[in-house]
């Protein structure tokens, strides 16, 4: 079953067909939600709420298009609401506290993750979507709702701030 079949079945009242959609996208949704909310609990709540929003508004979804870009807008809204409620909780977006001790180049990678976690959520979102998900400037512009030129400048300044944090990490030892 593909997404379009599952969604058509949902339209016909088969609620369980939505399981296919959730199963297919929950991993990506949770990862993005964690980047946006900054913690696991809010990420799970926001992702679940976003899937519920998607289900309720499936009648507005055009089955000839991809599901995730449409869903991402809902997810993003939910994450911002959860983040506002959580009032800047502890940021553990891309790093697992129980991760093994880093060494050599892994240490540099760990520094980078730490620096990413300390970035403002808006900067982190752009960098993650660009570098981890490989979205193009046009995709970012469409899905975040800003002009392409703004994507370019915001990405530039976000990476500069990340660079500054990294230099701080290296200088201050994290």
């Amino acid at each position: 079953m593909d997404d379009a079949d599952a969604i058509r079945r949902c339209w016909e009242g088969d609620t369980d067909a939505f399981h296919h959609v959730v199963q297919r996208y929950q991993r990506r949704a949770l990862a993005h939600a964690r980047v946006l909310t900054g913690n696991d609990a809010d990420a799970a709540d926001a992702a679940q709420d976003a899937f519920l929003d998607a289900f309720r508004h499936l009648d507005r979804f055009d089955v000839t298009r991809e599901f995730y870009p449409w869903f991402y807008v809902l997810l993003r809204n939910r994450c911002f609401k959860h983040r506002a409620r959580a009032q800047e909780g502890s940021a553990v977006a891309l790093i697992d506290a129980a991760a093994p001790e880093p060494s050599g180049s892994r240490e540099a990678l760990q520094d980078l993750r730490r620096a990413l976690d300390r970035l403002d959520a808006g900067d982190r979102e752009l960098i993650v979507l660009k570098h981890l998900d490989g979205w193009t400037y046009d995709e970012l512009a469409g899905r975040i709702g800003i002009p392409r030129g703004t994507v370019m400048s915001r990405l530039y300044y976000a990476r500069q701030r990340l660079q500054s944090l990294l230099l701080g990490e290296a200088g201050g030892g994290g």
Binding site: H19, D40, Q48, Y137, Y156
Partner: protein
């Protein structure tokens, strides 16, 4: 460094990063290179940003192992979605067909009296069929079935 030259440096760096991202930039590569050749701060910054760009390519998500379906399923039950504007489309089609039929009657003085009654009725049945499934089906609730089984 003046404000205008700083702005110019930002433009150069932004364009260079866009190229690193595989995107079209407003400035030509030769213009970026020419600027970088004569601007030590830009050379340093671009080298750092290129390293960062490379390192970011090695970062991946930490997995968050949560099954959302378990909590989601009970919440979905009360939120069944509808097919997009299916009802509206069917009703508009019915209205159009009935109006066309009536116009044909008036203008052409064409069908026999029995057909005059049957065709609109048939159209209504077809639309009802499309909207609700079989309109003649007898629907029995599970509650009624249980009662029947008990008796």
């Amino acid at each position: 460094m003046t404000t205008s030259s700083r702005r110019s440096c930002d433009e150069i760096r932004m364009a260079a990063l866009a190229r690193l991202d595989g995107e079209a930039a407003d400035l030509a590569p030769s213009e970026i290179e020419a600027h970088a050749m004569g601007c030590e701060p830009c050379r340093t910054e671009l080298a750092r940003l290129a390293d960062l760009h490379r390192d970011l390519g090695r970062v991946d998500y930490e997995e968050l192992d949560v099954d959302l379906w378990r909590g989601l399923r009970p919440r979905l039950a009360a939120s069944a979605p509808h097919a997009p504007a299916r009802d509206v489309r069917a009703i508009v089609a019915l209205t159009g067909a009935l109006v066309a039929w009536r116009l044909a009657q008036l203008l052409l003085d064409w069908p026999a009296p029995v057909v005059n009654s049957i065709v609109p009725l048939a159209l209504v049945v077809v639309v009802l069929w499309r909207l609700t499934g079989d309109p003649f089906a007898i629907r029995v609730s599970s509650h009624q079935l249980q009662e029947k089984g008990a008796s």
